[in-house]
Symmetry: C2
Subunit: 248 residues, 2 copies
């Protein structure tokens, strides 16, 4: 019985929605043991104290996971027309491990808006299901140009596109980065790679968008020979980083 | 305008369903150019000749892709209760590249049947979408014990499970295989790796099933630290093989 309690540090009570689930669906009783995650690395065990419709929490164990992972993965993607596909992708990315997701409004985007709240719910559900302790940051949709103007916190920037111009193979680039990082880290504790990856709409990025990204130091990459759907590309990128991390 | 014509070698005509799509949805006309794939490596270009409700095909170009890929990937998986999840997985696996899919009826399976025809449609759609020329073989659901008794054509057998017993990391095993294969191939043209991967239901394989598989030379593996859903594990396995192949 795992519940999401983002404010557990300040308010030792199940949030309204989780409370309804606990009482009406799971029919939990006074004194039942529950597990809690705050999406910020905290994992708690508590006993329920029922007061009317409120589920108060008597915490008896607490573990704090201070570090997310030593890798940071930020996916910036143009959402698909059919939002189910993006929801499925988000679920898969959370299961595998992702830190931040942004949604881009691009030249060939077929979808100009997202429902952030709905996507956050999908992410929370996936986090609970896969027993992750960190909830990824999910950002509001933003125009492609504006996204490029933000202050990058990531040190490795990539744009995946399909134009037949020179592109490195993403998997090989990631492998090379981990290889270098592994060698450097043994010498002087250098910083770990953090990734920001741009993925376009079904109609790909425009030539102009690719140019703009290159000027902002995004490296153009290919994901391989297969023609992947947008959401498949999103999953593929996340899994590439995870799989190559596993090799080191 | 890409159509699936599995019998094109014998019958130069669009199959009934594709014909309806061509005439009613796409409103193609006599003489229009179309592209055809047969799911067996053939890629054709033809002109339409309309005869009543029939769409005859006048082929003017033909390419044959004789070899699938030098790697063979066979995924044998217990289908999820919610079949949408398996359909989505199948779509993603076809996009990335897969040769054969089997469905297992396991001790903890929550789903005891599949609709083969429906899954084949999903695979055909994904093949067309991702411009693959080979359609994967999709097998009828079979009991886990019976699957283990079949004659393996693959040379690398794995079972992914979650029991806290000794397991190798799948990604590292695949990397090692490609590494060895790469060295051997340069010497004497050895055969390429072919994979058969068993993935259990949401409730994992039973201890007995894991033992049975081990006796049949399936190597127990872990997919990493994340707890993945069944369908995510299926996608993950496919992508692991593809990503590591890209590194060589």
């Amino acid at each position: 019985m795992l519940f999401y309690t983002p404010n557990i540090a300040h308010n030792q009570e199940l949030p309204a929605e989780e409370s309804v689930h606990a009482l009406r669906v799971l029919r939990l009783k006074n004194g039942d043991k529950v597990q809690l995650i705050d999406g910020k690395g905290g994992f708690y065990e508590a006993k329920l104290i029922l007061e009317g419709k409120k589920c108060l929490l008597n915490i008896f164990s607490e573990k704090k996971n201070d570090k997310r992972s030593n890798i940071y993965t930020h996916l910036a993607i143009a959402p698909t027309k059919n939002i189910d596909r993006i929801e499925f992708m988000l679920e898969k990315c959370v299961e595998i491990g992702i830190d931040e997701v942004s949604f881009l409004n691009c030249r060939y985007s077929e979808r100009k808006n997202i429902k952030l709240e709905r996507l956050e719910k999908v992410a929370i559900q996936a986090m609970k299901q896969s027993l992750k302790t960190f909830l990824p940051k999910i950002n509001e949709m933003v125009d492609f140009d504006k996204f490029l103007l933000r202050q990058n916190t990531e040190n490795q920037l990539f744009i995946a596109h399909l134009e037949a111009t020179e592109r490195k193979l993403f998997s090989k680039e990631v492998y090379q980065l981990f290889l270098e990082n592994n060698t450097t880290n043994q010498q002087n504790n250098a910083s770990n790679p953090s990734f920001c990856m741009l993925i376009g709409a079904e109609g790909d990025f425009s030539t102009q968008e690719i140019e703009q990204a290159k000027q902002k130091n995004y490296l153009p990459v290919s994901l391989g020979e297969s023609r992947l759907r947008t959401e498949t590309a999103g999953i593929f990128v996340c899994q590439t980083i995870e799989i190559i991390k596993q090799l080191f």
